[in-house]
Amino acid sequence: MAPPAQSQRSPSPSQPSGCVGMLTSEGDLGCGEMAKLVNCSFVFSATQTLGNADKNSDDSNSRNTNPHFGSNRKGEVSDLKMQLRQLAGSRAPGSDDTKRELFKKVISYMTIGIDVSSVFSEMVMCSATSDIVLKKMCYLYVGNYAKHNPDLALLTINFLQRDCKDEDPMIRGLALRSLCSLGVANLVEYLVGPLGSGLKDGSSYVRTIAAVGVLKLYHISASTCVDADFPALLKHLMLKDKDAQVVANCLTSLQEIWSLEASTSEEAAREREALLSKPVIYYFLNRIREFSEWAQCTILDLVSKYVPSDSDEIFDMMNLLEDRLQHANGAVVLATIKVFLHMTLSMTDVHQQVYERIKAPLLTLVSSGSPEQSYAVLSHLHLLVMRAPFIFSSDYKHFYCQYNEPFYVKKLKLEMLTSVANESNTYEIVQLRPKSLGSISVTELCEYVANVDIPMARESIRAVGKIALQQYDVNAIVDRLLQFLEMEKEHVTAETLVLVKDLLRKYPQWSQDCIAVVGNISSKNVQEPKAKAALIWMLGEYAQDMQDSPYILESLIENWDEENSAEVRLHLLTAVMKCFLRRPPETQKALGAALAAGVADFHQDVHDRALFYYRLLQYEVSVAERIVNPPKQAVSVFADTQNNEIKDRIFDEFNSLSVVYQKPSYMFTDKEHQGPFAFSEELGNLSISAEPADSVVAAQRVEENDQDLLLGTSEKEESQGSGNNGSAYSAPSYNTTGAAQPQLDLVSLDQLSTVHTSGSLAIDELLGLGMPAATEPSPAPLPSDLKLNAKASLDPKAFQQKWRQLPVSFSQEISIDPEGVAAMATPQALPQHMQSHSINCIASGGQAPNFKFFFFAQKAEESSSYLVECIINSSSCKVQLKIKADDQSTSQAFSEMFQSVLSKFTLP
């Protein structure tokens, strides 16, 4: 079973070396392996270049699945091993050069994923040299393998420790870095000494490395690091060291250590908070120019969490940081902008001025960097434009797309054009500008529609439609859209049809104009399911105005079997029903065929809907009319706009990935990776409690909707439509008109009542209401006549600010039912219980026996809020309460209410 000839050739990487791969072909390969071999040799035969060799090694990367391949390499590796061993003791002149070559080879194997850990001891032996280049390569090698070969790592400790005492600071630093990077838990005892002296080293290079080294040690063994009192040393160094990079590294290490430590130690939480104290912040701010641009980013990020005491302080800080806005590094500029924006949130006028001030630097950044950098900056600009469209309305030309920009940049720009255009029209009336900005943008967008780039054209059409849906004056835009239909390009027609459908739902008054054009479209030219569904919907909805409607539907039904999309078939059923109800004689035949085909359909929803219509018609045609074709109200707002809470959350996380992804960080990061200072520091060692389940659901829904904005509405109709059996149209309007819809009474009454009993979550699900905590049944009777707002909302930052500002209006220790304490075992039980009484939990944490919760509530019909700190000791069944209130006069009533609610908390 010799492997095929070609496979013996070794794809030797980089240098044509002296050690040609010696193949020790292993005799007893199984059949399975044989197959792999053939496969492998096939790849090989084409290759000699390094590039393709990498490809193969990538395969072998998954722990040498290919035995032949492994052995081939093994040959080379063992050859390397021999050569290294020969050189190990050699002090002959020139031996360093040979070593360098050999080391290089080892590292090149390592890079492409070949396991060269077998030469570990030889590498260590050869490292006894004064050649720093050799040393560096050796450190790199050791760092890569030590973690998974702790026994081998032990071999290196000796020489690394010796190097840590070398007289050359460069070698001391390098050795210390490697020592800390070994990452082997049972070697930490060897780290403490060198790290301690490293932090006190005379060379700043060694100190910078030691400062990061402490953090590495913390990740290997937190207790060792804390016991050696390294955090305190770092803090001392941070405030005293003359070298800016040392200070910066101390800061990053401390931030990470204290944030991680804060969950278990009160002291660390206090220390973390102390980083945000005025003296520390000012210490950094005053010498910010001494730091590298990257360290400046870290400091600015820290500063953005600091809450200045008054407006003078805010202005001082802004003046100090003003010139950072002119920095060429976008990260510095954005970090500065974050500080400015967050500091001035409560000062409306200044906040506006900040917007004006940051506009120019942002636009310069957009145009000066690589497309990737522009993208990051544009995403932030996009967020700002969404928040304050009118401020950017005169800059709309900057958002015009250039033909050679990547698609991701163009897409963002289109979205910005849309949002700028909508607001500015209102403004323009006030300022009496001669030309309508809206129409300028639309003209620009229309140019894009004719673009040969199909995704771009699609996006542009959506953008035009979005402007139409946002503006009152849609006349010109509808004309434009109808012109698109006449362009007779399939993708343009398809995209436009979907939009026209949405437009009609919002502006039924345009139906005459649209129908005339839509009627001319041959259904054969429309293939995309979404577009087809839109067309069919219009055919059904406007059956009496479209002459040919029944016949077009009929021909579509004839091709029922060829229609692959269930969505289209569902629409077809509903449309033909509507058509029948309006023009019975012409449609009867088609309806019969549709129902027959529908009932026989393999798709469950289609089958059910057909059967439902059939029985409905059997029961009473007038009832069918009221269900399938009720009078409709125009949709005033489509439900797919992102809710404000999420937008605010994203704004809070300015200058982070949240802005690029357009969703808050909790949606895409695991808890442990939310980074230092992700939580408000005032809340101490507590983490923000998991969102109530229903709000997460809502949030995800928002996200989905956002992905395909307008297109999404038709899908949602569908899912909701199937929820209430039939009239797809009525579903979205729940959001605006509530439960007053006639068809709701008819069809889903019994469903709704069951939903009420089965819990509030399901209502959310059914109606698609995006309000977290909004659906609780009316709060249980309360002891006082104080009414709380069931939809109260407060973001952690605001909570924290309030908590600082307000005096304690009520503080008491009370006892709690032991049964309630027992229920604490389920972490979310108490917050959920409180929430059902309109008291929301904003943060919680702790470990038995001490639990800490922060709650808030808001008075109904008033923005006055109550903040509660509640520390529960589960072993003594005691609860310490601290209540702060905007409105002191009602705080007593609230505290009574809170206690009574708390006392009702028992096992579910």
């Binding site: 990260a331 120019a360 040969v452 690029v660 980074g675």
Partner: protein, 345 residues
């Protein structure tokens, strides 16, 4: 804080791979490449520079066809990560003279050495070639620059051999000239990206200049350099009413909408006599970026005429006029006309 940094070739091979925090799986490079390559099934949409996949955030920039990638699990500032990647590319180029796949492969040990000093445990330490010089000991293996692709924007107005744009210099900041002598040189480029939209009748609809003053210094001893700009330079539209100057472009006044400066630039006398003073660090860096939307005369004007000649045929006449003195020649001009895929000649 980043977790990993790696460079991939166009085919997706790992050229350099450095793991700083080992909290992201080892196969991330492959996962990344697969995702980028097949972003959308039709392959028409480019992957955005930042995306999230199973909790790992991938950042990437494309430099000379190579993919520079960083990963992290935390909610990092995207600007920071992308800027860093760009800087790493620039530092490597400073060292190697030429940045391409071949030079990277030949010098990967040097690149690792650089990466170790640039980022420690995921935190950026320095990206200044000047600072790095004292920590980095490997000598670059210089790659033959003859087979380099065209120089990009700076090549446009290159004339003869006397003047050479800094971007064309392929000399490493650390490599020694043959003979051990070091030439005291500094290159200053002004690179302007001009975007103009002409209407079908040849009128200018929108026009914008994005400019960079780029420097590449090979001077020893860090002397201070003063860079004097046009006296009549104004920043911000508010500073001077642009109406005063409209139609009188002969006065030579330049109005910048906005600009930013490199860290090393001192602006002490900028307000007085428009002079920038700086101690240029080694390597390539942008001294100043600026943006102009003031009216200007574009170097080229363009005129198009499209006539339908039959139902399946159209005739396009494209006229480009160079509006600059005949003593200047423009090289490597590329005219692109997007057409539907179904078009044939």
């Amino acid at each position: 804080m980043i977790s990993q940094f790696f460079v991939l070739s166009q085919r997706g091979d790992n050229i350099v791979f450095r793991d700083y925090r080992s909290d992201v799986q080892k196969g991330s490079a492959e996962i990344f490449f697969r995702k980028v390559k097949f972003w959308k099934e039709d392959g028409k949409e480019e992957a955005p520079p930042v995306f999230n996949l199973d909790g790992v955030n991938y950042f990437h920039v494309k430099v000379v066809g190579l993919l520079f990638v960083a990963t992290t699990r935390i909610n990092l500032s995207p600007s920071l990560a992308l800027e860093l990647l760009q800087r790493i590319a620039r530092v490597i180029k400073d060292y190697l003279g030429v940045l391409n796949e071949e030079s990277l492969r030949k010098n990967f040990v040097l690149v690792y050495e650089l990466l170790d000093e640039v980022v420690d445990f995921g935190y950026v330490q320095t990206t200044s070639t000047e600072v790095l010089k004292s920590y980095v000991f490997n000598e670059p293996i210089v790659v033959d620059a003859a087979r380099l692709p065209p120089l990009g924007p700076a090549a446009l107005f290159m004339q003869g051999t006397k003047r050479m744009p800094g971007t064309a210099v392929t000399k490493s900041v650390v490599a020694h000239e043959p003979g051990g002598r070091k030439r005291e040189e500094i290159f200053v480029d002004i690179i302007e990206k001009i975007s103009v939209t002409f209407s079908s009748s040849g009128y200018i609809l929108t026009s914008e200049i994005d400019g960079t003053i780029q420097m590449k210094s090979y001077l020893t001893g860090n002397p201070e350099i003063r860079l004097a700009l046009n006296d009549e330079l104004y920043i911000g539209k508010g500073g001077i009413s642009s109406y005063d100057y409209s139609g009188s472009s002969g006065t030579g006044a330049v109005i910048l909408d906005d600009c930013n400066f490199h860290e090393s630039v001192h602006l002490d006398s900028f307000d007085v006599d428009r002079t920038l003073s700086l101690v240029p660090p080694d390597g390539e860096f942008p001294v100043m970026n600026y943006r102009i939307t003031q009216e200007f005369k574009p170097p080229f004007s363009i005129n198009t005429l499209i006539e339908e000649a039959g139902s399946l045929k159209a005739e396009v006449i494209l006229k480009i006029r160079a509006d600059f003195p005949s003593s200047i020649t423009a090289n490597t001009i590329l005219v692109e006309m997007p057409l539907p895929t179904c078009t044939t000649r």
